[in-house]
Every structure is written in structure tokens, then in C-alpha cells.
Amino acid sequence: MLVHLMQNQAASLILEGVFEAFPKLKIVLIEGGFAWAPSLGWRLDARWAKIRDEVPQAKQSRANCAPSSGLLGRVEPDHRFAPRNDRGIRRSALLVRGRAMTAQLGQAADSCKSSREKPFHNNGNGGKETVMPHAIGRRHLFATAAVGLAAPAILRRAHAADAAVQLISHRYPGLEYYADKLKSALPNVAVDTRLMQAPDAIQLQRLALSSGSSQLDILWANSITLASYAKSGWLEPLDDLWAKHKDEFNLGDYNQGSVAGCSYDGHIYGMPLTTNTMLYAYRSDLYDEKGLQPAKTWEDYIANAKALNSPPRRYGVVLALKSDMVNNEMQSVMNTVGDGWFDKDWRPTFNDERGVKAVETIKRLAQYCVPGFTAVHNDEHTVDMSQDIAAQGQQWATRCATMDNPEKSRVVGKIKWTVMPDGGKQVMISDTYCISRFAGKDKDMLFRLLASALREENQRGGAALMTPPRNAVLNDPALQAKYRWYPAVSQCLAIGKPLPALAEFSEASEIINKRIVQAVVGQMETKAALDAAATEVQAMLAQRGYYK
């Protein structure tokens, strides 16, 4: 309390300009100690910039002094003025007068030898240097040192990232396997793999390729994106490299269908990874229990889904109608119940009478589907089948192995596979690795990297995860016996149908897929939704130079 009173007095005398008016005035504060004086000085210094407008009386000081030095007044211990106590020892006393405060406060601090006051010191230049510049200086020093120490690490990382071959790929178990193989395919070649869901991968690839970035070297593509990228001139044609390294990597062993799936306009643009297709997966135990047979027609398929539907425990069927999965799920019904997506002149046929019937078929089937199917993609679809949530559905060949993996599946050995009803014509799509035309690395090295990662030995190792494109592996009786779904995959490949070979199919399907889902969930009447999609797709294709 006493200290507070003393501080008030000192601050009041200084700030209200007493020493401005009477420069020679000396005031002595006694019986109040002096340890508070340095902290008062510090506070006045620190606050000067903010309070200066509130203390107009301190004009002289404000005019003469730098704000940070706070040369407002002077408080110093002067024990000559202190009264003696009853044993004759002087008590403390402070002298307050005009002139440089900070320096004198420093003297006060030295006098009281308190560690709290140590930051204040007298440098003999009238108090123009305070502790603050030193504190900032140290911080600067630390920051500079930290940046200096971190810089080599940052630069090394940037350099390493720059040196590594960059891959952007879709992610499923088979692609994860080959991404891993790429890392060890060639000695002294580092590969940085970025794996994500297909829509995200495609988006990133488009951004990199359309800007001509040299930071993307190799990329996963499927038949649709390969056609689109190749037409845009974003991919390196591989014909010459293929011929050059044919013997070294036994490239003649690739089946011709897979190579055709990696080609556009007569040129090879990709190294075949697999030709993927969708199988009719069903729970054989539940089918047997209900006395059901695998469906031969779409009507049977709906009837089976209805018979096995027991929500909320288990649903009759699984669908994934998010983004590009819509056209994959719809391909079979659109080609069998409907007339396909386009005619030979790329005019829409998906909105004709049979196309409407095809979409209505899926709409009826969706009544027995696991909820939320418009918001899910392949991963959730696989979980639904492997966790005993759905009784049947279309399933990619690349997802079959998960069903028999005891660590991931509750239905090991219970799922069987066959062809889709009404003659299949289900989606068939080649997955491939391509080389960007703008790749910053040597193209020959990149080709050898891909060919090496996809050599026969690695394809044997990955045979459980995806259908191998090499004949020596595909036709191996031992592997055919080992993987239960191989016979169904072979049947499906024989009757499957690739998506339309339209370079703009990816964009067209963005429009069509939205409208189909609007029809399936009842947001729009089916015919109206498909007609709207047809109009929009035709307008888009006309802008791209079709129908001339």
C-alpha cells in the first residue's frame, strides 16, 4: 500500500510536468523503500508511447526525448535525506527530480542489488539505451540462428523432393503394391508416391499437366483419363521406347487387350497395370439359405436384392453412386437394359426410352441398397461387402482379395463371383502408368522404371490384388487355382465393355452422373433428368468441336 502510494506520488510528479515547470526542484520521498523505483521506471518507459497524449503537461520531455528512453524525470536513492532509526542507521530515501529517469533508475537498481532490477543498467549515455533493444536483439539472434540451422535441412528436403521421381496415383491395394515396387525398381532412383482416391488424383494430375509442370513425372491413368490426357497432348507417346526395350523387359508377353486399353489414336501411352472389371459378387451362404440362384436378368437381380434385404441389419444390395462410380455402376444396365451412352456420332442415347428404363431399374434396385449410397465410393462399398452389411453388388476385380482376407473381412469364403445379368457388358477399364510429356526426368529412365516395376516376378507377387496383364502370369494354372475369383474375372473380361472412347467422357459423365443420381433419389423425374443431361452434354461437346 505504501509502495503504491509512493509510486503514485513519483509518477504524478513526473507526468504532470512538475519538473517541466521547476527544472531545479528536488523532492525527497522517505520511508517508502526504493525497490519499486526500477519497476516504476520500466513501466513509465514502456507506457510512454501510449500515455503521452494523456499527459500534455510533460511537454518539454516529450519534445526533447525519444519516447522509448522515457527521459521524464529522475528518481534516485539519496540516503543523505533519510532519517536515522532509533539505532542511528539511516532508512531509505529517494530523490525525485527532473532529467534522465532511466539512467538514474539504473543506479537505483544497482544500489538495491536486486535481481529483479538487474535488467536496468546505466550505460553512461544519459539513459538512452534501455533493456528493450537488448531483449529484441537476443530474440533476433535466436530467430536468425534457428533459420540458419534449419536452412540446410529445408534445402536438403527440397532438393531430395526435386530429385525423386514424382508419382500421382489412385489408391487401392494393387496400386499400393506397385507404388511400393516402383520405389525399389531401379537402383539409385528415388520415387515419391502420392496415392489418393481417383477423383482427387485426377484433379491433381490435371492441374499439373495443364500447367505443363515438370514436377509430375509418372501418373496412374485409366482408359478414360488416358484418352483425355493423350488428346490434350499431355502424355509422352511410348511407341519408340516400347520397341527399344521390348526384349529387355519381355514386353511381348503383355496381352494385346491390355495394350489396346493403354493406347489412343494408334499410339501406346501407358504401361498396362491391369484390366479391371466389375464382377457380380454375392453371398453364397445367404443365397443358399433362401434358395436363390445368381440372377440371369436385371429383374432377377432386383428380386434377389429384395429377398435378402433385412434392414437395418443387412441390406439386399450395395451401390456406390458418388462421382465417377455412377457411370461404372450404370455401365452394365445402360448397355443391356438401355442402348448405351452414345451413338456413333456421339449423340446421347442414354435418354431414350430404353435409357430411361435402365435408370428406372437402378432406382427400383436402390430401395434395397445400403443407405447413403450417393455419398460413398469404392472404399465404403468394399467395407459394406466385407463387413456383412450387403448381400450382393457389383465389385471391382481389384477388391475381391479383400473379401478373403481374414484381417479385413467377416465373410471369408462366403462370397462368390459371376458375370452381371443380361449378358454383362459391364465396365472394363485398363489401369496404366503413363509418363508426363512435361516430366523433368529422363524419359528413357522413367520407362525403364515402369517396365522394371511391372516385371513378371512383381506381377506374380501382385496377382492376388489385380488381374495381371502378362500372359505368363494370367494363364498360370497354379495362380488360377489359388485365387477363387480368377475364373469369374476371365469370364467377365470376355463379355465386358469399355466406357465410350470419348476423350471428353470424363467431363460428360460429370453432367450425366449428377442427373442420374437426381433421378434415382427422386429429386427429378427420370425422363426430365436424362433429357436435361443430354442437352447439357450436347452443348458441351458442340463447344469442343463435335457435330460439325
Binding site: R206, S232, P312, K322, G372, T374, A375
Partner: protein
């Protein structure tokens, strides 16, 4: 003084002025990223978009989702702020726990929510089914998908409103409440006639900030529904993304971006005018 502004002006030029000018320039072009040279087409992109029923549908979706979620956030945020204001113990812990969703990265938060709301094996469905409650189709039904998004946005951003309103209450002059109590006002009357009128400027401010932010609603909707089913939850920003990054129509996407900017700017101007008018009335 101008010299001090140079660094910030330089940064603004790079990250704001240049992209904005580019977007406005591109909006007058037919610019397909897949090939072909950009072609000047004047206002054709704007005319096409303003005649596009999907754009108007998306605008309506945006207004519904933003309006409902901001209203819900305000009511819940105010209620929680008042509860914290009245609480005597554990305020810091409760406010910290409440604020956690706002700290989580939006996409990470959205993925959490997806695994909560996803059909059948999601956390919410699994819990409800174990209690013999038949869950709605959270993400697959057009109406429920909107409701789910509103709830998700509220979960994520309500803490922000709560915290700002709570800070406002902290600065509240307690004497006014004491005077009201002495005059015989009950709790509701104190809220209605004392607290709310005093908080009005802050409420208006925080709602306008949230509304502007919510208009750019993207990450949650992208991860949770991707605008689906169909276009039931497609917002204007998601449509811009679809046109730009899926259809590769850079010109048209830029035009839609400019239209969105104009709408948001008009909204801000309206709110500023409202605030100024209220300011003159001194609430």
C-alpha cells in the same frame, strides 16, 4: 507512412489483386483447360450462368444451408455463452472442450463427421441401430443430407460464436443487471430487455462475419456429400469447383467466382449499412 504499407501492399497485390484481376479477365473468355486457345466471348459466360437453373438451385441451397446453420449457431452459441457466464466453476474447461471442433482442420473434421454419419456402419447409425432405432438416411436423402450439413456446420462453427458472445458478456456492465433485478425483472426479462439489446451490435457483427464465411462453404460439403444426392446439397462454391476442376471450364468458373464475389460484397454492404443505421440509433 506509404513506405510502411509497401510490404503488405505487395503481398496483397500478389495474393489478391492479381488473382482477382485474372479471374475477371478469364471470365470474359471461353477457356477450356483441355485444349484450344482462349477465346474472347464478352459476357457470354455470365449470360449462360444466369440462365442456368442449376446455378439458381445451388444459390438457393447455399442460402438455405447458410441461413439455417448461422441461425442455429447463433441460438446455441448465445445459450452456451449465457450458461458459461452464469457458471461459477469449470468455465475454462467447458469453453475449451466446446471450442475443440473449431480448432480441428476443416477437412479432418469433415472426415470424422463422415464416419459418424455414413450409412449403416457409421458411428451414429451403429449406435441408433443398437438401440433399436431405425436411422434416417443421413447423407443419401435430399432433405436429410441438407439437415446433416447444417448440423455439421453448426458443430464446427458454433464454438466461434459462443466464444465471441461470451467475451461480449464478460465486458457487460453488471450494474445494469443488478438494477434490473432490483426493479423486479425476472431472468427472461433481464435477457430480453437488458442483455440482448446491449449485445445487439456484437451479435450483428458476429453473424455477418459468420454469414460471409459460410457463403464460401466448401470443405464440409465436398467431403460429406460432394453436393449430392444429385445436386441437393450443391452450393455455389462447389458448383464453381465442378466447372473449374472437373469440367476444366476456367472461363465459366471464373465468371461464377465473380458472381459469387458480387453477391457476398452486396451482402456485406447491406450488413454494414444496417450496422451504421443501428449505430446512429445507438441501439
Amino acid at each position: 507512412m506509404w513506405l510502411f504499407m509497401v510490404p503488405s501492399l505487395a503481398v496483397m497485390t500478389v495474393v489478391l489483386v492479381y488473382p482477382l484481376a485474372s479471374a475477371i479477365y478469364y471470365s470474359f473468355l471461353r477457356y477450356y483447360l483441355g485444349g484450344g486457345a482462349p477465346q474472347f466471348i464478352g459476357l457470354a459466360n455470365y449470360v449462360e450462368l444466369l440462365g442456368d437453373e442449376r446455378f439458381w438451385g445451388d444459390l438457393l441451397n447455399t442460402v438455405i444451408i447458410v441461413g439455417a446453420s448461422v441461425a442455429l449457431q447463433l441460438v446455441m452459441g448465445m445459450a452456451l455463452a449465457l450458461a458459461l457466464y452464469a457458471a461459477t466453476r469449470g468455465v475454462r474447461l467447458i469453453s475449451l472442450l466446446n471450442f475443440l471442433p473449431n480448432v480441428v482442420t476443416p477437412v479432418v473434421g469433415a472426415i470424422f463427421l463422415k464416419w459418424i454419419f455414413i450409412g449403416r456402419f457409421g458411428l451414429l447409425d451403429a449406435t441408433l441401430i443398437s438401440l433399436d432405432i431405425f436411422p434416417p438416411n443421413w447423407l443419401g436423402d435430399p432433405v436429410w443430407a441438407k439437415i446433416t450439413l447444417i448440423l455439421a456446420d453448426t458443430w464446427k462453427f458454433m464454438p466461434f460464436l459462443m466464444l465471441v458472445l461470451y467475451a461480449g458478456l464478460q465486458a457487460f456492465d453488471i450494474q445494469l443487471l443488478e438494477a434490473a433485478s432490483i426493479d423486479g425483472a425476472n431472468a427472461w426479462q433481464r435477457l430480453r430487455y437488458v442483455i440482448l439489446p446491449m449485445m445487439k451490435p456484437l451479435i450483428l457483427f458476429v453473424v455477418s462475419i459468420r454469414a460471409m464465411d459460410a457463403f464460401r462453404f466448401f470443405d464440409l460439403v465436398y467431403v460429406l456429400t460432394n453436393g449430392g444426392p444429385g445436386t441437393a446439397t450443391e452450393t455455389v462454391t462447389l458448383y464453381t469447383y465442378q466447372i473449374g476442376f472437373r469440367m476444366l471450364e476456367v472461363g465459366k468458373a471464373s465468371a461464377l467466382g465473380v458472381i459469387t464475389l458480387i453477391i457476398v460484397a452486396a451482402m456485406i454492404a447491406g450488413l454494414i449499412l444496417l450496422m451504421q443505421r443501428r449505430g446512429r440509433e445507438a441501439f
